[in-house]
Symmetry: C2
Subunit: 404 residues, 2 copies
Amino acid sequence: MARRNPNLARLQSGYLFPEINRRKRELLQRNPQAKIISLGIGNTTEPLGTRISAALSRYAADLGTPAGYSGYGEEQGLEALRHKVAQRYYCGRVSADEVFISDGAKCDIGRLQLMFGPGARFAVQDPAYPVYVDGGVIMGQTGDYNPQCAHFNEVAYWPCRPENGFFPDLATCPAAEIVYWCSPNNPTGAVSTRKQLQELVAYAKHHHAIIVFDAAYAMFIRDSELPRSIFEIEGAKEVAIEVNSLSKPAGFTGVRLGWTVVPQQLCYEGGESVRDDWNRIMTTIFNGASNIAQHGALAALDDEGLMEMKQHVDLYMRNAALIKKTLMALGVTCWGGENAPYIWARFPGKSSWEAFEYLLEKAHIVTTPGSGFGPAGEGFLRFSAFGHPHDVQAACSRLEHLLA
Amino acid sequence: MARRNPNLARLQSGYLFPEINRRKRELLQRNPQAKIISLGIGNTTEPLGTRISAALSRYAADLGTPAGYSGYGEEQGLEALRHKVAQRYYCGRVSADEVFISDGAKCDIGRLQLMFGPGARFAVQDPAYPVYVDGGVIMGQTGDYNPQCAHFNEVAYWPCRPENGFFPDLATCPAAEIVYWCSPNNPTGAVSTRKQLQELVAYAKHHHAIIVFDAAYAMFIRDSELPRSIFEIEGAKEVAIEVNSLSKPAGFTGVRLGWTVVPQQLCYEGGESVRDDWNRIMTTIFNGASNIAQHGALAALDDEGLMEMKQHVDLYMRNAALIKKTLMALGVTCWGGENAPYIWARFPGKSSWEAFEYLLEKAHIVTTPGSGFGPAGEGFLRFSAFGHPHDVQAACSRLEHLLA
């Protein structure tokens, strides 16, 4: 009698990264000596800043003492951390009770779909990070998959290509209630300008849509003119949620710490408070981020922690600059890499998987095929700047050798 | 245009613990000198075992070194930890690839509902821990709330009262596809016998239902005859999922570490693998438990860690024995407290909230009103054994003074 949620059958099996791993293993079987370098996934490689790791370590040791022990905390996160995120990260643009600490952006995006429920029509940038669509599939928001166009029938895909400056013509885009928007973008490395985000906010106001703004790479923005948060845009608090994470800037990919900001004034069509629903969801099916990780986050948002994060970001952005310079010198057209840790490169005449196979086979370099992020990613490869600098340098030498 | 998930409107506002906190605050306003002792929530109070906290602390410090750093792990958890849970906790009854490490049982129960989706009909013990029903409400499995009987129309409530030995007559119970079963039980402290679980497994086989077995308190079982896992019952791997947690035995309520076991042979009605769906859900909208917490769990499942957990359990179970002895000596009928850290007490002539108010007002003791766990809990109070021993002793003295 126990039946499967029919939405699960709609998930497309080829989740990108398992397929990449399969091809990697296959190469290693044929060529066990191959020294593969990964510029594939966005996994951090550098040790935590010493101040931050010391704070994590000290708090964990204190949990073994009567004075330092702590059990359940508030599901929404430590009051001190919510305040610090509001004050130090958002410069007071949002208030502490609008900040919900979590175990990461991907997990929050999974939970967010519960607020809109089955049938909600959403838009994604095409290409996009897979969790928006896959989370929506599980929730029953996507309709069936159409293999012909590699689209789900009920999802609004907003193409973001070099030709449109990675920003769609909102006047002609298919309509949506929920808009997932990622800037700096994974995978394209494009960063939305202030003017573009103003347009996006105006769109959301006009259509009473809600923007879910994924700012997980915001700390990688170098250009001070570019907005790092949707809440830098006037009126955004009436139409937007922001998801964020310490995974990439602090190296917390394994430690797990993120947050979501849901403004007080954000309402559904019927006038109900979105923030109150998020509070109810987080207190009902979540039990707080690890208190150890939260104390690491408190340290990361101190002056010294912020400096340590900046050093991390600088290191990865030097990688990005090297990859981009190498590709461009070789005549490969590419984008991103200046305010984002991803480079988006076009290999004319090759499909994404053909280009992937070519670099894997000939240079033992793993990248990510752009088509895995959506049909508009076909023909592109994503190069990730997350890696040890000497590995990235070695990979660039191989590229020079192969493509020169 | 952005609409609210209509299921959220069905959630009943009075989530138990906020209401308890409100009444506590009210007392403190009237009587700022009151020294309130909480035997209310199941929050651990004792510091972590020193071996376990040392392991957490050491791993966190190592994350600050090139050799010790680690980024994303497998979403399903560290291979070594999955093996250790399978071997040390389940004595090889389950295999490592059936164990999925997570940030806790409550979070897993929230995610589990995605496998069954809207419209799945589930049964809960009445009374029950609130997340089963609330999670089902959010997922659209419950129908409307009927305030007259304090039941959701589409949920099968299986009454578990002293009169039926806290085990329902399965032949006459309303049918369900999914059965949430918690043993040792929160809130009643009842532990299902082997024979009862055999009946439950037979029921599930007969009706092709899936049991979600919540074993979060399994380590509190003292009687070696009582089963600690549903997988001790023959045939259970064909019909059951088990959710578990280190929150209570290791004091990881704040650290966050649990797991769910989904056997390979468990299928939906249509023959699809439940385990494969769980794997897909965990890899899609979850990103792994904190690697620090996972290393704490590795230590907790070592010989010394198991000893430290046993010491924790022993301490809380001494509290339980004292509370139960005190109540019984005073003529209060009560159950549980022998193989579970909860005591379930009846105060004849008083509703749950009346009894709660009486103890709060007269003895400044916080308990949990049984009616908050479901209508069959009306007339009962739950006493939690989680507390510092000296606080529990003081509370028992107050009870003696008040009720003698």
